[in-house]
């Protein structure tokens, strides 16, 4: 069964764009939230979520199954996805 992939990203971040492209290129289905496009309470709520996975609140924060990867670390992402 494929891993569920969820990512916290910024719409302006080069590494986030590269990560999204990597997922697309490899046919991986993923959910993402561009945190910089949120406002007010929504933004704070999502930032609290990000902090649970990555206390530094940096982007992209990638969750693949139970694995958390901070940054577009291609080798780690491939390993977590098993590709």
């Amino acid at each position: 069964m494929p891993h569920k992939v969820k990512m916290y990203t910024l719409s302006t971040c080069s590494h986030c764009k590269a990560t999204k492209k990597f997922m697309d290129d490899n046919g991986i289905t993923f959910e993402f939230i561009d945190v910089d496009l949120l406002h007010g309470e929504d933004k704070q709520r999502i930032l609290q979520e990000v902090e649970q996975y990555n206390p530094n609140r940096s982007f992209p924060t990638i969750i693949i199954g139970k694995t958390i990867i901070v940054g577009f670390r291609e080798d780690d992402i491939r390993e977590a996805l098993g590709i």
Partner: protein, 110 residues
């Protein structure tokens, strides 16, 4: 201003200081384009790879070029975004590795 115009302006200022744009010009122009998005959105060119607070004072350390660029280029040959790099990084003399976030955690709490 267009990303290409920003490229020309910054190149003249930064290259004499030893900071070169990533030779992958698509990558570089994309980041410069996002810097202009941030200028429009926040009123200043904060690092597009980081979440801006919207306060110029709080984001002073991440106005591009950010305060962490010197140490990151010295240690990794590249800034956090892979926008500004050393000539050795561009020439592939040093290994390209992911540049970890150097900004202190407390600056990202807002």
């Amino acid at each position: 201003m267009t990303p290409a115009e920003l490229y020309d302006i910054m190149k003249k200022i930064q290259e004499p200081k030893g900071y070169f744009f990533n030779k992958d010009k698509d990558w570089t122009l994309s980041i410069l384009s996002d810097l202009l998005v941030n200028k429009e959105r926040y009123g200043y060119m904060s690092c597009p790879c980081r979440l801006a607070s919207g306060s110029r004072e709080k984001d002073a350390d991440i106005l591009c070029p950010c305060r962490y660029r010197t140490d990151d280029v010295r240690e990794y040959g590249s800034c956090y975004c892979n926008l500004y790099v050393s000539s050795e990084w561009n020439e592939g003399v040093i290994k390209h590795q992911y540049v970890p976030e150097r900004r202190p955690k407390d600056k990202m709490n807002f």
